[in-house]
């Protein structure tokens, strides 16, 4: 099932761009040969670039020559020249056609490669919402890992996380294996762009679009994965984990935090990828653990905090069984209210917050995950009845402003 492709052309391309067109390649691009399609895209781009430079220099040279040679000098007549020449005009109409036809054909060729995924690719789904991504792995798990860009993994990030203060999701993907992603949006249009893969496709709220890639695994001499304490991760087999990170950018304007809608695709060896997705699998875990995973994986953490600090949505600290002032009057945040707020978020809006919560379907957050989230909220709230204790007295209703 999980066939590791041994594609020879990738390894040769990994040696870097070669040929006349590769001159100046580094002006435009940072890396080469993440996969074959990316390398072919770079090659086509550089070919177009040098063809364009040729034409541009040719035209400008003639122009400057004329401006200097035929500059106006009083009393010096302009020599006669014809203002029409059918043969010349045919030549300069037809010759560019050959160049354009070549570029069109090459563009079409690589486009089809970018469009059609191999039949044996790993199948995943992606949901986009303002302003976060969620990828669901074949076993139903989602990645709960997040990072501030620059804080730990990306060398070129800002000092303490840039841009924005929000951690972005990290999606672990196996290297050297084709991955096929089915994409859908929960609200407006987004666009899934991994610049290193040289492909983007839009994500719509009403139809699936697809994205596929196969990324090269880092070789054994490259940097290795570290945990939050800065120590290198050692797998159960006693091996270090080589990895490469690739940025995900949202490329279709989607509102206030469009420029913070980032993510990271982390290419790791297949065995480590399998171990990770198994770790995040909700099967056999306690409801509270499930809730914690879902909280991060579904992007709840983009707006809700769990430590009481103010986010774009109410904090989950001491939320459960508290009284919340809403546009429908004061509401007790019990299980039913939480359920309603996830599936039909606009029904009751807590005062002071905009109607920003995306609508989840029961397929995205099923009963098991919902119970997990409620269990997680219980664990965060001081109003939660202690196990075995009698039902608590009514929590004090907050004063109306």
């Amino acid at each position: 099932m999980l066939k590791t492709l041994t594609n020879n052309s990738i390894s040769t391309l990994a040696e870097g761009p070669q040929g006349w067109w590769a001159v100046g390649w580094r002006w435009f691009f940072q890396n080469f040969g993440v996969n074959e399609n990316a390398a072919l895209t770079d090659k086509l781009y550089m070919e177009i670039f040098w063809i364009s430079v040729g034409w541009f220099v040719f035209l400008m040279a003639i122009m400057l020559f004329c401006v200097v040679k035929y500059r106006r000098r009083p009393g010096v007549p302009a020599p006669y020249s014809p203002s029409h020449n059918t043969r010349l005009e045919l030549v300069w109409t037809i010759v560019p056609c050959f160049f354009l036809f070549y570029i069109f054909l090459q563009g079409f060729h690589v486009y089809v490669d970018k469009l059609v995924a191999p039949g044996d690719a790993l199948q995943m789904t992606l949901t986009a919402k303002k302003w976060d991504w969620t990828i669901t792995y074949p076993n139903g798990a989602s990645s709960p890992e997040r990072t501030l860009i620059g804080a730990d993994s990306m060398q070129f990030g800002g000092e303490n996380g840039s841009p924005g203060a929000r951690p972005v999701p990290i999606f672990y993907m196996p290297g050297d294996v084709p991955v096929h992603i089915n994409m859908i949006s929960q609200d407006v249009m987004h666009s899934f762009w991994v610049p290193d893969f040289r492909v983007k496709f839009d994500v719509f709220p009403n139809r699936y679009t697809t994205y596929w890639f196969e990324a090269k695994l880092a070789d054994q001499s490259s940097s290795f994965l570290k945990d939050s304490n800065g120590k290198e991760v050692i797998t159960a087999q006693g091996k270090k984990v080589p990895f490469i990170d690739h940025f995900i950018f949202c490329a279709e304007y989607c509102g206030d935090q469009h420029s913070e809608m980032l993510g990271i695709i982390r290419i790791v060896p297949m065995d480590y990828y399998l171990a990770k997705t198994e770790e995040w699998n909700i099967e056999g875990k306690s409801p509270e653990e499930i809730g914690k995973l879902v909280f991060s994986a579904q992007g709840c953490s983009a707006c809700h905090t769990v430590d009481g600090s103010k986010g774009a949505a109410p904090t989950w600290k001491d939320l459960y069984m508290s009284h919340q002032p809403t546009n429908q009057g004061s509401v007790l945040a019990d299980d039913n209210y939480i359920r309603e707020s996830i599936y039909t978020p606009a029904a009751k809006l807590v005062d002071g917050y905009p109607s920003n919560m995306p609508v989840y379907t029961t397929a995205q957050i099923d009963d098991k995950r919902l119970h997990g989230l409620i269990a997680y909220m219980k664990s965060l709230s001081k109003f939660t009845p202690a196990a075995g204790a009698p039902a608590p007295a009514e929590t004090p209703a907050p004063e109306k402003k």
């Binding site: 781009y45 003639i62 500059r71 106006r72 009083p74 563009g107 841009p163």
Partner: protein
């Protein structure tokens, strides 16, 4: 020499008969004059009013652009710093350790506009300001500046003059279209004043139908664009009829100046394509206000349908923007190189060809939408439209060959146009090729590309045209040295601003981002510095024009030695343009055989005298 002001000039009516004053002569007191301008049906006055309105909107749109560039000078980031107390001293906690706090840095606009003037605390506020700024910039520049710039101001002023007519075919309709334009602009400015719009100038659904649902900003802005569309349609209709019916005796279709051909092609697109955007924008308003599901999937609509509608108009409109520029260049280059234009018919038919094919390429804005093989057809057609455009560039450069090239300000700008537009055109190739577009789409590469085409093409040419026809419009010369200084500043600033953005695009910087990751910082700084140089360049032009109006030398009727009919009128033209109806006896570019009307060797030293001049 005295015979050069030949008898034909008198016969054609451009002579020195002062039967009536120039169109600029005030009719009376201040309020009489204001009323006269406000109710005028004179195409020249309407052209000038359009020019003033467009330049004002260009100023507004430019301010928004500078706001965008200034915000991008510094990436937004959160940093942990030591807190300070009210006295500004670093705070130290009870345990002796410094008290740290997290602050957001790099949000310039938020710092300027936040009421307390203090440090920004929310990412959202700064982003909202940025998003409003770039939407404002795009919407104003496209709908209120570039589309009406050359057609409505220079076109209005010079189409009747070049055709030898007294006015456009429907003068009252012409005045109406100016008022419609102003009304649309007021709607747009109103939407800014009540809070601004953050949808981008493309108003993509469903974002545009769901954002800020409780406010009317988006509806106002969209209605503004809708109203502006009517102004385009009325102007286009007017020009088509004018070209068909009001050509001077003796002027066949192929005796028309190429500016007229370009304006004619433009008008056809305006009349055919603008109704589509009108309908689309109206549907958008209906969906927002009455919740009719057309584009919004949550109401049963389809957002891709909106994109098809939108680009079915907005791609042809790209040529509404650039074709008039081609027309202006086709005038400036022959006049200032004193050379017959190379391949007149090729240029004329290329204009029509571009207008035709432009209707068939809208799909290339959606290559990244869903990956359909239909994109192949659009890619092929996109390359097809490159051919007539390339042919025009070849023709202009061939015109320079064996000419007599004077580096006047208009000519300098025309040469800069050839430089910038070639880059703009060639960088369209990787966007037209499907594989590379999947990478470059919605990146800064696209931003750079369309600024080279739209600004390097249309705005640069608009400025070139203003300098070419300024003496005719206002009867005053301007200081060419300082105008050339302005031109060079604009050229340098432009390239610094936008060439850097090609690299940003290929390296992965998406457009419409209020912030960015650190690796793009250096290029953004260069780009912003370039935009400030651009500002200085345009300010120099502004002062040169003001100086010209106040203290400029009186312009002769034909300062550059042009052969088209507007140079037979006086500078500035009399109210009815020509004292007698002109008769066309020579082609618009027959420099080898014709003496320019009103030629004065002191104004304009000609390279040589035609054999029949004496």
């Amino acid at each position: 020499m005295t015979t050069l002001d030949n008898s034909r000039a008198h016969e054609l009516g451009g002579g020195h008969g002062h039967h009536e004053g120039s169109y600029l002569t005030p009719k009376g007191g201040f309020w009489t004059t204001v009323w006269d301008w406000a109710t005028t049906v004179d195409h020249k006055k309407i052209g000038v009013m359009y020019m003033v309105a467009v330049l004002f909107m260009f100023f507004l749109g430019g301010l928004a652009a500078l706001a965008v560039r200034t915000e991008l000078l510094d990436p937004v980031r959160t940093v942990t710093v030591q807190a300070t107390d009210a006295a500004g001293k670093p705070m130290v906690g009870a345990d002796g350790k410094p008290v740290m706090k997290t602050v957001i840095e790099g949000q310039t606009l938020a710092r300027w506009f936040s009421k307390g003037g203090g440090e920004a605390t929310s990412i959202d506020y700064g982003n909202q300001l940025y998003n409003r700024a770039f939407t404002l910039h795009g919407a104003i520049m496209v709908f209120m500046v570039i589309i009406p710039s050359i057609p409505a101001s220079l076109g209005n002023f010079f189409i009747p003059l070049m055709l030898g007519a007294k006015d456009v075919a429907f003068p009252r309709l012409n005045l109406l279209s100016w008022y419609v334009y102003v009304t649309g602009s007021i709607f747009a400015v109103a939407s800014i004043l009540i809070g601004g719009v953050d949808t981008g100038w493309t108003f993509y659904t469903p974002y545009s139908t769901t954002t800020d649902a409780e406010h009317a900003n988006v509806v106002l802005m969209v209605l503004g664009a809708f109203i502006l569309g009517f102004s385009s349609i009325l102007t286009g209709l007017n020009f088509i009829v004018t070209v068909h019916k009001l050509r001077a005796p003796g002027m066949g279709w192929f005796d028309m100046p190429l500016f007229i051909w370009a304006m004619y092609s433009t008008s056809i697109i305006q009349v055919l394509a603008t109704p589509v955007i009108g309908i689309t924008l109206l549907l958008l308003v209906f969906e927002r206000m009455f919740k009719i599901g057309i584009f919004d999937p949550s109401l049963g609509g389809d957002p891709v349908l909106y994109q098809h509608f939108f680009w079915f108009y907005s791609h042809p409109v790209v040529y509404v923007m650039i074709l008039p520029a081609f027309g202006v260049i086709s005038e400036i280059i022959p006049v200032h190189s004193h050379k017959k234009i190379f391949g007149y018919r090729a240029i004329a038919f290329a204009s029509l060809g571009v207008a035709l094919v432009s209707f068939l390429v809208w799909g290339h804005h959606m290559f990244a939408s869903s990956g359909e093989l239909g994109a192949t057809v659009f890619s092929a057609l996109t390359f097809l439209v490159a051919i007539p455009t390339a042919v025009k560039v070849f023709n202009w450069i061939a015109t320079l060959y064996k000419g007599s090239i004077a580096l006047t300000t208009p000519m300098l700008y025309a040469l800069m146009f050839l430089f910038l537009f070639s880059i703009g055109g060639l960088t369209g190739l990787p966007l037209g090729a499907l594989a590379t577009d999947l990478h470059l789409h919605d990146s800064y590469f696209v931003v750079a590309h369309f600024h080279y085409v739209m600004m390097g093409g249309t705005i640069i040419t608009f400025v070139a045209g203003l300098h070419h026809w300024w003496p005719k419009m206002f009867g005053k010369m301007y200081n060419q040295f300082w105008a050339n200084v302005g031109a060079w500043l604009v050229f340098i600033g432009f390239n610094l601003t936008f060439f850097t953005q090609f690299f940003l695009g290929t390296q992965g910087m998406p457009r419409r981002y209020a912030s960015y990751v650190q690796e793009y910082h250096t290029l953004h700084v260069w780009s912003t510095v370039g935009s400030y140089i651009l500002l200085v360049g345009f300010l120099v032009h502004l002062f040169v024009f003001i100086h010209s109006l106040v203290a400029g030398r009186k312009a002769p009727a034909n300062p550059w030695g042009g052969l088209t009919l507007e140079w037979e009128a006086e500078s500035p033209p009399i109210e009815h343009n020509f004292a007698h109806e002109p008769i066309v006896t020579h082609g618009p570019y027959d420099f080898e055989t014709t003496v320019p009307p009103h030629w004065n060797p002191k104004d304009y030293p000609l390279p040589h005298l035609p054999a029949n001049a004496h």
